[in-house]
């Protein structure tokens, strides 16, 4: 009953696999991986297979980490919409009222959202075995890695389905799933990739599986209960979230819309008419839409991100202040995950909730609508992200060795701000280009991955090839100019103070400069800061044109 004749699973698989897109994507994925292996393949002209042992290792690392990244990013994207999607399409009650058992629904939803991901992971297995032939790898290690990947996919998927059953909107479920899976995946990578072989094997074979199974059981019971006695099948009036009522039961953070900094992202509701010249869309987005689903999502976001930042702050700012850039990468990762959620649904949701026709027949110009959407999304994502920079400010105030380098703080803050702009504008662009929020989100994350993370992986990969060919650090750095992570890490952090502290002279490598023209060489962060504002403008231009031609100027639907 759970697997065979599961109508939920059958329906979802049918929809996914009916389109040729799934196969095209898989083809592209496998060919990309194949290309990676091909260029590493050390066949000389005389057919010798002389390779340094590090090559297979590095390939394996790229495969594993890349796929782990894919799993932790994509499992929530697919699974977090599984139940909220039913709620949004108003098919939830029909599904619950059917004789299907909650367990069947859960298994169907979980497997259908993960099946494609698992197929992707497994399709890389032959290539991995090919790397095994290069030597330097243990078969047990490969098996272990795939076990970890599958366990991670299952756990993250189930967590996201759980979030999906608790929230009413896909966007809320997605943000919370990301924030829950983020620390778990960091922990998982840290434990299963330690240099100590014994710990590594022990953790991935003896500790991880039982813990995962225990977690799965708990989650399954929770979701089952939620599906069996759903408290959120709304009739009239139930859709309305009473903010004051919710505040009473809020644990921890309480959002007060009259106080700083909460009013920055959630200004208080109006008590009177809007003044003339207000952009009504912006006003609506900020004052009504953000809180319309209650404050639970925002509270979870703030709490979890703050909690996570405490150990990171201790380790990366106060113990090793030269690692401050790594704290910044945490802030950037947070924005990468949370930023698009507020923008990538902003146009598609108008369509899905059938308010687009109302909006389009008014006198609002496409420019005003799109600009309001961008400003609203940018404001929320920026304020939430900058809440995490107060730790950074604190470190710069308290630590003398950082205080001498205040200019790096400014660069970090600007990098974070520019990244907020980039994530929001990419999200909005994808929202204008496709028809459904779920597609827009996947597209946004893929675009951002290509811009932010892929260059890092690529430069790491090329560094491995570079043993034979000549890839200078400058050339490698020039690949990563689109990545804010690379930009943050390129900010020079070693200070003279540290030398005094430890009494040793530190080996400070000269900052890597990217040669732009014959006379001009700039560090990665400077190029990053220079290219993103115009690039964001281009994204915004595409958004504007797409919105204008597809919807505003008499589209093909309403």
């Amino acid at each position: 009953m759970f697997l065979r004749d599961n109508p939920v699973l059958t329906r979802e698989l049918l929809v996914t696999l009916r389109s040729p897109r799934a196969f095209v994507l898989q083809f592209l994925y496998v060919s990309a991986l194949g290309a990676l292996v091909y260029f590493y393949w050390p066949a000389g002209e005389d057919g010798t297979r002389q390779v340094s042992p590090g090559v297979a290792r590095r390939l394996f690392d790229i495969f594993f980490l890349g796929q782990f990244f894919l799993v932790s990013l994509m499992a929530p994207t697919f699974a977090a919409g599984s139940i909220t999607g039913e709620k949004e399409r108003k098919t939830y009650e029909m599904l619950l009222a059917s004789p299907l058992r909650p367990g069947t629904i859960l298994v169907g939803k979980l497997l259908s959202s993960l099946s494609y991901l698992v197929i992707l992971i497994l399709s890389s297995l032959p290539l991995m075995i090919l790397c095994y032939l290069l030597g330097g790898l243990l078969l047990s290690e490969i098996t272990r890695s795939y076990l970890v990947l599958i366990l991670a996919a299952g756990t993250f998927g189930l967590l996201s389905v759980a979030c999906s059953s608790y929230f009413r909107r896909t966007s809320s479920a997605l943000v919370v799933s990301y924030l829950v899976t983020l620390p778990l995946s960091v922990l998982c990578v840290a434990l299963t990739r330690t240099d100590d072989v014994v710990t590594r094997d022990f953790v991935s074979i003896a500790i991880l599986p039982p813990w995962c199974l225990a977690l799965w059981t708990v989650l399954e019971i929770l979701i089952n209960r939620r599906l069996l006695h759903p408290p959120d099948v709304g009739s009239e009036g139930k859709d309305v979230v009473d903010e004051e009522e919710e505040m009473k039961y809020a644990i921890g953070v309480v959002i007060d819309r009259d106080l700083f900094p909460d009013k920055l992202f959630a200004p208080a509701k109006r008590v009177d008419l809007m003044p003339d010249g207000t952009n009504p869309v912006l006003d609506k987005e900020l004052r009504s839409e953000i809180f319309s689903q209650g404050t639970l999502m925002l509270r979870v976001v703030i709490q979890v991100s703050m909690l996570l930042s405490i150990p990171l702050m201790a380790g990366l700012l106060f113990l090793r202040s030269d690692k401050a850039a790594y704290y910044v990468t945490y802030v950037l990762t947070f924005n990468l995950l949370v930023g698009p959620v507020f923008s990538s649904g902003s146009i598609t949701q108008e369509r899905e909730r059938q308010t687009l026709a109302l909006l389009l027949t008014t006198l609002l110009t496409p420019g005003r609508i799109v600009l309001a959407k961008l400003v609203a999304a940018l404001r929320v994502s920026t304020v939430l992200t900058f809440l995490l920079t107060e730790q950074l400010l604190l470190a710069y105030i308290l630590l003398p060795e950082l205080r001498y380098r205040v200019w790096t703080l400014l660069i970090f803050l600007v990098i974070i701000a520019i990244t907020c702009l980039a994530t929001s504008s990419v999200g909005l662009m994808c929202s204008a280009l496709v028809r459904r929020t779920s597609t827009a989100m996947v597209l946004t994350y893929l675009t951002l991955l290509v811009l932010f993370v892929l260059p890092m992986g690529l430069s790491w990969y090329l560094e491995g090839i570079g043993q034979e060919q000549s890839f200078t650090p400058e050339r490698l750095a020039s690949i990563t100019i689109t990545s804010p992570f690379s930009a943050a890490l390129s900010v020079p952090m070693h200070t003279s103070r540290i030398e005094n502290w430890t009494g040793q002279s530190l080996n400070v490598p000269p900052p890597v400069m990217v040669q732009l023209t014959r006379n001009l060489a700039l560090p990665v962060w400077a190029i990053f800061l220079a290219i993103y504002p115009p690039l964001s403008l281009v994204f915004f231009g595409i958004t504007y044109l797409a919105f204008r031609w597809r919807w505003w100027k008499a589209g093909d639907a309403g």
Partner: protein
């Protein structure tokens, strides 16, 4: 006021609307009737500047729907058949949102919102959240939204669909009110009887083609020649009653089934009275004698027949 000239919309091979032309004069209430999927909403969305036509042209108050959508949006109030509302907004905020979107200055906004709420009997719901309103209330709210900028032309797509009988009646009264205010209204429905009472003209559309258009009298004239009488009897003298009916020149086809005689009738209202008189005079215990309300389907059948023959 509204002109549709050779409007055609194709989706691939499928022709949603085929070479549609009609026009609506000032102050008219035009009922746009057709079964589900006939192309009503497609035409209406085209007129509301939301749909690109494959061919053809539309004009509202002299402005081209395709070339000058902004001018058209200024003069129309559009209510889609299926619409959502924004979450977390109160009724007055919702109206204020659209009032600002229609560039109404703040000074007059307060008065207008009050008036519109009053007209639609929503004043007591002013501070309720829109997503908590019932379907009927939402429908009224959307109508309120179409009125904030006082447009001379209203385009309403199935405004009464999904409403309970009371809300339906209220909606009807409201439309009467709007008609008195001199608005030109294009209203669609798949139920003929819903529109017949207060429309001044009607267009019937099926499978993307306009089958008939004209004033309500003209259409009714066409329909009148094919009316169906239903006579319910208290006893089982159905055969006798059927025989009496068959003798009458205004009756064409007679069918009987338990205690009921149904007959196709061609004639005027006076003939109907005469028939009833004859039945009673013959001592037949008539429980009810009425013209069966024509379902849309039957009207279609008749009109298509009329066009073919």
């Amino acid at each position: 006021m509204i002109e549709v000239i050779n409007f055609t919309k194709r989706y691939g091979d499928f022709v949603a609307v085929d070479d549609l032309s009609f026009s609506i004069g000032k102050g008219e209430i035009f009922g746009f009737i057709g079964p589900n999927g006939a192309g009503k909403s497609t035409t209406i969305r085209f007129l509301a500047t939301l749909l690109r036509p494959t061919a053809g042209e539309g004009r509202i108050c002299g402005h081209s729907v395709t070339a000058d959508p902004m001018a058209v949006r200024r003069v129309i109030g559009f209510m889609p058949d299926d619409f959502g509302v924004y979450d977390g907004m109160k009724v007055w905020e919702f109206l204020d949102f659209f009032a600002v979107a229609y560039e109404i200055p703040r000074i007059s906004r307060k008065k207008i919102i009050g008036e519109v709420l009053e007209l639609l009997d929503l004043t007591h719901k002013k501070d309720d959240y829109v997503n908590g309103l019932s379907k009927g209330m939402k429908q009224r709210l959307c109508l309120a939204k179409t009125l904030v900028h006082d447009p001379p032309v209203l385009i309403l797509d199935e405004p009464a669909s999904g409403l309970d009988p009371r809300a339906r009646l209220e909606m009807k009264a409201l439309l009467g009110e709007l008609r008195k205010m001199g608005k030109t209204i294009l209203i669609s429905s798949h139920i003929l009887s819903e529109l017949a009472d207060f429309c001044t003209s009607i267009g019937i559309i099926e499978r993307g083609k306009l089958l008939a258009a004209g004033s309500i009298q003209e259409i009714q004239q066409q329909i009148r020649s094919h009316r169906v009488l239903k006579v319910r009897l208290l006893d089982d003298s159905t055969d006798r009653a059927a025989a009496i009916l068959r003798d009458d020149p205004s009756i064409r086809l007679v069918e009987t089934y338990d205690h009921t005689v149904s007959a196709e009738f061609e004639g005027h209202d006076e003939d109907m009275g005469r028939l009833l008189g004859r039945l009673i005079a013959s001592g037949i215990a008539v429980q009810s004698f009425a013209e069966e309300p024509l379902s849309l389907e039957e009207v279609f059948m008749m009109i298509t027949k009329g066009i073919v023959s």
